[in-house]
Structures are given as structure tokens and as C-alpha cells.
């Protein structure tokens, strides 16, 4: 089967490319009017062949060469290896020709002066449309099939194609835009600017250490790192306390705790920051009480480092809890039992066995907290006071009253550098040690009870924290339904009706100002979630089950987008995808793509974790029985991967619903997102509507997640039934 698929599939892809080239609209057309195909085969919706022959765009005909080369190779009687080589060349030339003409010729003629002087004339074209993308895709597959025929990945065309597609899309949607924006740090309208680059990147406002010696603020880079480290450490410790309570004590509300831990993840950004102001701000609820009861003067302590770190710890502790609970559960109780059999006390067991085994989990949790803190934009915006961090600095270098793109690019470079160092440290530290305790065989031991002081400590830390969080969320819910939080507590529905008014005139008419953004957000999030899960899990499969050259850099590339701050992604997308050949701004597609590549790393991680639990012998059995890898994935892996599928579906859905900094530049009139709408309300000081909308979003996402959790419950039973008969069939 493997040996036959390659040429067949190749012919198919080649035919598709030729068909698209001859018939389909080559350039981007706006959908509703474009469907009329006015003037076809010429005009705006014309095909490349027609436009090339008679439409004044002869350069499009260059693509005939690789097409013909491909057909010639397939029909020849050359040996398989040589045909593969010719196909590779056809693919490479095809890609090169399409991309070169696309980048050289834009809306206003030649994009580069040297090209104009070389070729002359005044050609003009729009961005790739349906046929443009399809042909590009087909040539890519042609290249991959050719490589497979040359014996890459044991000649498995499917695997080579999957790798090819993922690599190509990551280059296009991560490296290309980010490279574009970062290049602004050294390249400006006047050419190279190395001297300004050096003076800007070593600027005192970034690296200054004045806070150590005086009352001045330190550089923004140190602020950011200091905040990140602090938040990372506290989140990890709190998460550990919660995880120990949930797994090692007879705490009665474990399910509630798990559910509660999800809450901050589905909270739209800076809602927590807002709530903190309304509680602890100078005229906040608590400050008022303290003032009236104890005459404690109201102060502004919440603004700045204190406030940002509290908000971030509230938001990120659940993430570290969820990571650590798995690690704590995974520690083999038999080791602890052995320790106790050897007469170690509970305390010695905890200190010498349990805690050391927790270390990789702690490191992971710390790094996630650190990175999330670095990338956070909403909380510093609301609570920052005079404490500046990189993410907001970048934003205002782009949109502030002193616009300076090169400064934004340089700050982005610094932020990216920190995140990459964190990633590298994680890899270096965890990679060298072995912590495996989860064996394939069940472990019959019972986890040893925790030492009492630790139980008390955990309880003392977590209980007030939970009460605090519950109070915060109660306030968020209340805030949407009173006139003006902090000033006038008369209950009202006016915020809700302004945002979500509905008239019934024959059918529901959505007149509230928030409906448009809610629908657009739902549409984009629901569309992007399955795509994100698909590409993430495919990547995870390739990483865990296949070996190929460059696998390490492949893995690094897929994780990179997680490290890039949202603002940088947003600006880079608008710079890279506003002009031909890839002209996507203003469409919903750009939002979907942005979410796909931003959230993909989570799908990859979830997939890797689940795949590592699935015995390789299962897919080997399937392969031995003659199924190709595509069939194996569909029939064996996918059913077993359902938990990972659901996890990445939920996560990418939620992240798409709550992302701010990346989309603020990408939203358009038709696709306005809920979060940008909320930012606008906050900017205008209309906290009521902002909070009412956020509360609606929280309730909505909670329902979706509960539905999915139900689905997970049903599925677990089925998994055992599927897993057992497989090896015998």
C-alpha cells in the first residue's frame, strides 16, 4: 500500500494544481460579490492561465514549466529514484516561481527598485486567492511526495507531506511575520541603523539599575524579569499546596477545587485587575471599611508591583495547580512505602522522596508562570501604576503618542530573548535527569500521608486564598448589575441591556451593542479550535512516533509561537499579511490563523503527554498488519488520543475567546472580538458594561467547558473497550 500511494497521490495533486491554474480565480476575491465571478475567466476573478495569456499578466505563465515538468516525470519510464528527484525539482521550482512573482509584484507595481530597473514595465496584482493558495499547496505536496519517493521517512508519503505542511505553515505564519517585525529593529526607511540599534538596546530605560541605589524605577527589562520570577515562584508554591491538598488529604471538595481552578483561565483578561481596584483601590470596598472602622488611611498600594503580582498570581496559580496535580499523582507510592518500611518518619519521607520527585514538575510550573507573566498585557495595563513592564511598553511604542517601530521591535527582541532563555533553561535542566516513576504496570502502594506541619501550612495558605478568589468573583458578578461599582450600588440591568438587548419582531433582532462582537468571537473561536487541535496533535504524533532529520529544530519551531508576546504577533501579522502575496487583513481568516499558531503548542504538549502513555506496540501492530500510517492514525491513534483532543479543543477555544493583545490590531469591522470590545469599554471608563460582558463570557465558557467535561466522562469508559480488542484484531 505504501509503495503504491505515492505516484497515485502525486498525480492527483498535480492534476489539482493544473486545474486550479487553468480554471479557478487566482487572486483574492471578497466572497459575496466574488461568487458571481464577473468577467471570468478574465477580470478580478480570472484564472492564472487566462490572465497570463490574455489578461496582461504574462509572468503567471512561468508556472507552466514546473507543472509540465511534473507531468513529464510521472509519465516517464525513469527509475523511481530519478522520478522522485524530478518531482522534487518540479515542486521547488513551482514554489519558487509562485512566491517570487508574488513578492516581486504588488498592488503598485514592482516592490523593489532593482526589479523595476531590471524588468521594466508596470505590472500590478493582488494577493493570492483560491487558486493561488491551492497551487502553492499542491507544489508543496509534490515536493514532499518526491522526497518520499527518494526514500525519506522510509518512503512514507503521508508522513513527509505532514512534516512538509507543518514546516511550511510555521515558516509562513510564525517565522515570516515575526522576522519581518524584528527586522525593523535594525532596518528602517533609511537603510541599516546599527548604531541606533546599539544605543537603543543598551538604553538606560531598559537596563537601568537605579532602583537598587535610589528611589528611581529600574529599567523595564529588570522590572519584567523580577515580576516574572516572583509570580513564577509564588504560583508554583501555591499550586503545590493546592495539589497536595487535592491528592494527599481527605479534603472534601476536591471536584469543586478542580472546577474552581478553571475559573481564572476562562476569565477575560484584566477583569481580575479591575476587580482588585474595586476592592482594594483607594475607594474600594475593603479600603472603605478599613477607613470607616479602623481609620486606616486609604492608600494607593494596589497600583504597581503589588497589584500586578496579585492579579497575575490569581490568574496563573490554577495553571500551575493543574500541572502539579498530575505530577503529584504520578509519584509512585511504592517508593514512599519503601521509605517508611525502612523506618523513615513521614517528614523524612517527604523531604527525601516525595519532594525530590516533584522537582521537574515544580520547574515546569515555575517556567509556565514566568512566561505567562512576561506575556501578560491586560493586568499591567490596568494595575501597572508607575511600574512598567515590556509588554505594555511594546504596545505603547506602537500606538502611543510617540510612535517608534524600531523601539517596539527592540523591546520585543528583549522580551523574546527572556522567554527563549527560560525555554532553554527548562530543556537543559529537566532534560538531563531521569524522574520516571510512572511505570506501565500498576502500582499497588498507597501514598503516604503528609507530615502534619505541611498539611497545616497548605491549609493555611489555600483556604484564605480560595475565600479571597470567591469574593473576587462574586464582586465581578455583582459589578455587572449595579449602577456604578465603587460609587452607586443600586441594582440595575442597564449594563446588560445596553450590551445584549434583543427585540422580537417576527424573530429575534439583536440590537445590543455587544452582539456583533460576541457572534464574531464565537465564530472565530469555534472554527479555530478544531484546526488548532488538529495541527497540534499531528505535530505531537510526528514528534513522538517518527524520526527524521532536523527533528529538534522542528520541535523548537513549533514551540516558538508560544514564546512570542501577543502584541508582537499582532503587529507582525498586520505588517506581513496586509499586502500581496498573502493579503489576509480584514478577514476572519487572519484571526483564525493567528489563534491556530499561537495556541498550537498547547495541543502539541497535550498530545505528547498522552502519546507517551500509549504503548508503541499498538501502532506497530497496526503497521505490521499492513495499514499505512494515515490509516493507523485514523483507526488506532485518534480514538486513543481523545483526552488530548478534548484538552486542546477546550484550551484553544478558551484562549481564542479571551485573547487581547494579539488581536487588537487584527480585528476589523466585520470581525470585532469580544475582548477588544471590552478593552474599549474599560478605556472609556465604563466598567459596568465591561464587567457585565465579562460575566456573560465567563458563564458562557463555563457551560461549554462543563459540556466538554461531561463528554470526557463518557469517553473514558469507551476507551477501555477500544483499547483492549485492538492488539488481537
Amino acid at each position: 500500500m505504501k509503495s503504491k500511494t505515492a505516484p497515485d497521490a502525486t498525480l492527483w495533486w498535480l492534476g489539482l494544481a493544473a486545474g486550479a491554474f487553468c480554471l479557478l480565480p487566482w487572486y483574492w476575491i471578497d466572497l459575496p460579490q466574488g461568487l458571481l465571478l464577473a468577467g471570468w475567466p478574465l477580470g478580478a476573478s480570472g484564472s492564472a492561465l487566462a490572465l497570463g495569456l490574455a489578461g496582461g499578466k504574462p509572468w503567471l505563465l512561468l508556472m507552466l514549466a514546473p507543472l509540465l515538468l511534473g507531468f513529464a516525470a510521472l509519465n516517464s519510464r525513469l527509475p523511481r529514484e530519478t522520478r522522485g528527484l524530478v518531482l522534487v525539482w518540479a515542486g521547488v521550482i513551482g514554489l519558487a516561481v509562485i512566491l517570487a512573482q508574488g513578492f516581486l509584484i504588488g498592488h503598485r507595481g514592482w516592490n523593489f527598485a532593482w526589479a523595476a530597473s531590471l524588468f521594466g514595465g508596470a505590472p500590478q496584482q493582488n494577493g493570492f486567492g483560491f487558486a493561488g493558495f491551492l497551487t502553492l499547496f499542491c507544489f508543496l505536496l509534490l515536493l514532499c511526495q518526491g522526497l518520499a519517493m527518494r526514500g525519506f521517512c522510509r518512503g512514507d508519503g503521508f508522513i513527509v507531506s505532514a512534516i512538509g505542511i507543518i514546516v511550511a505553515t510555521i515558516i509562513l505564519f510564525v517565522f515570516f511575520p515575526v522576522g519581518r517585525v524584528l527586522s525593523q529593529s535594525v532596518w528602517g526607511p533609511d537603510g541599516w541603523m546599527l548604531d541606533t540599534f546599539i544605543s537603543k538596546i543598551t538604553d538606560r530605560s531598559i537596563w537601568g539599575l537605579d532602583c537598587l541605589t535610589s528611589s528611581l524605577n529600574c529599567g523595564v527589562a529588570w522590572n519584567t524579569v523580577f515580576l516574572g520570577v516572583f509570580v513564577g515562584v509564588v504560583c508554583t508554591l501555591l499550586g503545590l499546596a493546592f495539589a497536595l491538598i487535592a491528592t494527599r488529604t481527605r479534603f472534601p471538595f476536591k471536584r469543586a477545587l478542580t472546577l474552581f481552578s478553571v475559573l481564572p483561565i476562562i476569565t477575560p483578561p484584566f477583569v481580575i485587575g479591575l476587580a482588585l481596584i474595586l476592592i482594594f483601590g483607594r475607594s474600594g470596598v475593603v479600603s472603605n471599611l478599613l477607613y470607616e472602622w479602623f481609620a486606616i488611611p486609604r492608600s494607593r498600594w494596589i497600583y504597581g508591583f503589588t497589584g500586578i503580582s496579585i492579579a497575575q498570581i490569581l490568574a496563573f496559580t490554577p495553571i500551575s495547580f493543574m500541572m502539579l496535580i498530575g505530577v503529584v499523582q504520578g509519584i509512585a507510592p511504592s517508593l514512599e512505602e519503601a521509605s517508611q518500611t525502612l523506618r523513615a518518619s513521614r517528614w523524612t519521607t517527604f523531604r527525601t522522596i516525595t519532594f525530590p520527585l516533584l522537582r521537574p514538575g515544580l520547574a515546569n510550573a515555575f517556567l509556565v508562570g514566568f512566561i505567562e507573566s512576561l506575556a501578560d498585557f491586560g493586568n499591567p495595563l490596568v494595575l501597572g501604576g508607575n511600574y512598567e513592564v515590556l509588554s505594555t511598553k511594546i504596545f505603547f511604542a506602537v500606538v502611543g503618542s510617540a510612535v517608534d517601530e524600531s523601539r517596539a521591535a527592540i523591546l520585543a527582541l528583549v522580551l523574546l530573548g527572556f522567554t527563549l532563555i527560560a525555554f532553554w533553561a527548562q530543556q537543559a535542566w529537566i532534560g538531563k535527569k531521569v524522574y520516571t516513576t510512572v511505570a506501565g504496570k500498576g502500582d499497588a502502594g498507597l501514598p503516604s500521608p503528609l507530615p502534619r506541619p505541611i498539611v497545616w501550612l497548605c491549609g493555611l495558605v489555600t483556604v484564605p486564598w480560595v475565600i479571597f478568589s470567591i469574593g473576587l468573583y462574586a464582586l465581578i458578578l455583582v459589578g455587572g448589575f449595579v449602577n456604578s461599582l465603587g460609587r452607586d450600588y443600586t441594582p440595575t440591568l442597564k449594563h446588560l441591556t445596553t450590551a445584549f438587548k434583543m427585540n422580537f419582531d417576527g424573530g429575534p433582532i439583536f440590537t445590543g451593542s455587544a452582539w456583533d462582537s460576541l457572534f464574531a468571537t464565537l465564530e472565530v473561536s469555534l472554527l479555530s479550535a478544531p484546526l488548532t487541535a488538529a495541527i497540534g496533535l499531528m505535530t505531537a504524533y510526528l514528534l513522538s512516533r517518527q524520526t527524521f532529520a532536523g527533528k529538534r529544530s522542528f520541535e523548537f519551531g513549533t514551540m516558538l509561537s508560544f514564546a512570542i508576546p501577543g502584541t508582537v504577533i499582532g503587529v507582525s501579522y498586520i505588517l506581513a499579511f496586509n499586502v500581496p502575496p498573502f493579503e489576509l487583513t480584514g478577514t476572519g481568516l487572519i484571526l483564525i490563523i493567528c489563534f491556530m499558531f499561537r495556541n498550537m503548542p498547547v495541543g502539541v504538549r497535550a498530545g505528547l503527554a498522552t502519546l507517551s502513555q500509549i504503548d508503541k506496540s499498538l501502532d506497530e501492530a497496526s503497521l505490521t498488519l499492513g495499514a499505512g500510517s494515515a490509516t493507523t492514525i485514523r483507526r488506532v491513534m485518534l480514538p486513543l488520543l481523545r483526552p488530548a483532543i478534548l484538552a486542546s479543543l477546550v484550551y484553544s477555544f478558551v484562549r481564542a475567546m479571551t485573547s487581547v493583545s494579539a488581536v487588537i490590531f487584527l480585528v476589523s469591522a466585520k470581525y470585532n472580538m469580544a475582548t477588544t470590545y471590552i478593552v474599549g469599554r474599560v478605556e472609556a471608563g465604563e466598567f459596568g458594561i465591561a464587567i457585565a460582558y465579562s460575566a456573560m463570557l465567563i458563564v458562557f465558557m463555563l457551560i461549554v467547558i462543563l459540556l466538554i467535561q461531561l463528554a470526557v466522562g463518557e469517553r473514558r469508559l469507551g476507551r477501555r473497550a477500544i483499547a483492549t480488542p485492538m492488539p488481537t484484531s
Partner: protein, 346 residues
């Protein structure tokens, strides 16, 4: 699980179909993409009224003027918007300086206030004033009474040592409002004295906010005693019932001109011109007050909302938009402010 997948897929499909149908039905009179930089509350009735009057289908994106400027600049080689309506004049003039916007002379220009026409002349017809608002400060009446501080009336009163950590203003690097204050002070006092003043004021500042209107909100909530912002932002809070009083400083003050520009390379140029002409009419400008925006409209025939700060009572300086709106001067002043004011110890 399968049912869930099917359901969400169907939901997505239905949504997609609905948007497609929605956009298909709206092709009758041509369309227009408006970048709106005032409050959403004001953008919406404008769009609805324009659609009703002309039958043109409007797509509107609301973003702050800084964000809109950044977007127009990024989109320059392939503009997606047609007209940029509202928002402080500063980024509009920057866009005009960089040739991002189009020259246009509207037939409805005859009845405009002088400052609106002056701005149009200065930018060679690239941007025009649609409203204006004076800069000022407001104080929280409850807080000021409880502290026993005399009510501030002038810029100089804000230096009162009793107001230590009680004044809030935006960071001029991120907010056009605050840059207007910087430029205003330089014009009133002269550059050296203005920077002296700001250095002293720095001791009283509790926070340089990111957004220009944030100090008004903070004053209304009692988070700060005094907030510096545009007077109409303060008025919005006062109309809502906040215990605060807006002050036009006795030494005189600067103002912003909320502007409108046609984006260069607009795909719907004719419709953009229709919006431009329409937005200068009294009828369109009268939509501001019901949307709780109390700026002074640029058409002399537009009734001035009763809540609006009376321009006659305000000592306005002759603000030199040409000089202080230019990129070079702005960069110089902001760099100086960073070095001499912001980085000073308190």
C-alpha cells in the same frame, strides 16, 4: 464526544452561513469602512444615522486614535479603511504629515469654526476639525473637603504640597491628552519654566496612567483627588453623578481638535466624501450630546450641548498645532520629559 463535535461543527456552519447571508444583503448602495476613534457610544448612532440617510452600508471599527494611526500606517501600502472619523487631532496631523491621508475640500466648510478651518489649512486640506475640547483638571469634591485643601483654580495651585501623591495625569508617551498638556504648558510658560513646573508637579503625581481619560475616571471614583484630562471627559463623569468639579485653569489652557481625515487610497472614495460632508452638518454633529460626549462641535449651527464646558468662560491659548504637532518637536519634547521629569526621584 461525537455529538459534541457535530453540534459545534453545525453551530460554526450556521454562524458562517448567517454572516455570509448578512453581507450578501448589504450590497445595494455601496459601502464604506469607517475607523472611528471616539467612544463606541457615539460611533454607533453616527453609523446608524448615516446608513439611514444615504443607504450606504457602513462597516465601522472603533479603536483609539493611537491604535488607528498605527493601523493606517501599517496598512499604508494597501489601505483597508476609507475614512477616519474622530479622535484627537494629533495623530491625524501626524498622518497628514506622513501623507497617509487625502486632501479634500468639502462644500460644507463655510459654516465651520475658525479653529477647524485653521487646522484644515495647516495640513493642506488633509484633516479637518469636527469638535474641540479644552484641557483642564477636575477634583473630587469629597476628598478635597476632607483634606481641607483650598479648591485649585490654576495650574499653579496643583503644586500645593498638600496635594502630594494626589494628582493624576497620563504619560505623554502613551497619551495624546497628556502630550497636549505638555505642549500647552510650554506655550504658556515658556519651555524652561514649563519643565520646572512639571518637575515640581512630579512630586504630586501619584501615577502616570496609560490612557488619557483614565484620570477623569479615577477622580470620579476617588482614586485620586485631582485628575488632569480634557474637560469633556470630566463632564461625562459629572453628568453621571460623580462628586467632582471641572476646572479650566486660570492661566489659560490648550485644547484638542477632534479631527476627520480621508485615508489615502480609500477603496470607497466617493462614499468617504459623502461621510465627510455629512459629518460636518449640524444634524450629524448634534448626535454627540445624546451619546454623552460633550465636546464643542465645529459647525457653528450645531447647538452646543448645555452640559458642555462653555468655551467663552475658558481662557484658551492660541495653540500652535503646526509646531507642536510635528514629529520632530514631539520627539524632542518627549525625550526631554522622559529625561528631566519622569526619571526624577520624588
Amino acid at each position: 464526544m461525537n455529538r459534541f463535535m457535530t453540534r459545534s461543527a453545525m453551530g460554526a456552519l450556521a454562524l458562517g452561513a448567517a454572516t455570509l447571508a448578512g453581507s450578501l444583503s448589504a450590497q445595494a448602495q455601496g459601502q464604506l469602512t469607517v475607523y472611528c476613534s471616539v467612544q463606541e457610544e457615539w460611533c454607533r448612532p453616527m453609523v446608524e444615522a448615516f446608513e439611514k440617510d444615504t443607504g450606504i452600508k457602513v462597516s465601522m471599527t472603533r479603536k483609539s486614535s493611537g491604535e488607528t494611526y498605527a493601523q493606517i500606517k501599517a496598512e499604508a501600502s494597501n489601505p483597508k479603511g476609507d475614512i477616519w472619523w474622530g479622535g484627537t487631532g494629533d495623530p491625524h496631523m501626524q498622518a497628514a504629515e506622513e501623507g497617509l491621508t487625502e486632501e479634500y475640500k468639502s462644500p460644507n466648510m463655510a459654516n465651520l469654526q475658525d479653529w477647524a478651518v485653521k487646522q484644515w489649512n495647516q495640513t493642506k486640506g488633509r484633516t479637518i476639525g469636527i469638535y474641540s475640547g479644552a484641557l483642564g483638571f477636575a477634583y473630587n469634591t469629597k476628598l478635597i473637603a476632607s483634606k481641607g485643601i483650598p479648591e485649585p483654580k490654576c495650574w499653579a495651585d496643583l503644586l500645593n504640597p498638600k496635594l502630594k501623591d494626589e494628582v493624576q495625569v497620563a504619560d505623554p508617551n502613551s497619551s495624546g491628552t497628556s502630550y497636549t498638556m505638555l505642549a500647552t504648558l510650554v506655550q504658556i510658560m515658556g519651555e524652561d519654566k514649563a519643565f520646572d513646573y512639571m518637575k515640581k508637579l512630579h512630586k504630586n503625581i501619584n501615577q502616570y496612567t496609560k490612557s488619557g481619560a483614565a484620570p477623569a475616571k479615577a477622580t470620579s471614583l476617588g482614586e485620586t483627588t485631582v485628575g488632569i484630562a480634557f474637560l469633556h471627559d470630566h463632564v461625562t463623569m459629572i453628568v453621571e453623578g460623580a462628586p467632582m468639579k471641572a476646572v479650566a485653569p486660570c492661566e489659560g489652557t490648550g485644547y484638542e481638535i477632534g479631527s476627520m481625515s480621508i485615508i489615502k487610497g480609500a477603496k470607497n472614495l466617493e462614499n468617504a466624501k459623502k461621510w465627510y460632508d455629512w459629518a460636518l452638518t449640524p444634524k450629524a454633529q448634534a448626535l454627540a450630546a445624546p451619546a454623552r460626549s460633550y465636546q464643542v462641535p465645529s459647525n457653528k449651527d450645531t447647538p452646543i450641548p448645555p452640559q458642555a464646558p462653555k468655551m467663552a468662560d475658558i481662557k484658551l491659548i492660541d495653540f500652535d498645532f503646526a509646531k507642536y504637532g510635528s514629529s520632530a518637536e514631539r520627539k524632542r519634547l518627549l525625550a526631554k520629559w522622559d529625561a528631566e521629569v519622569k526619571n526624577q526621584p520624588k
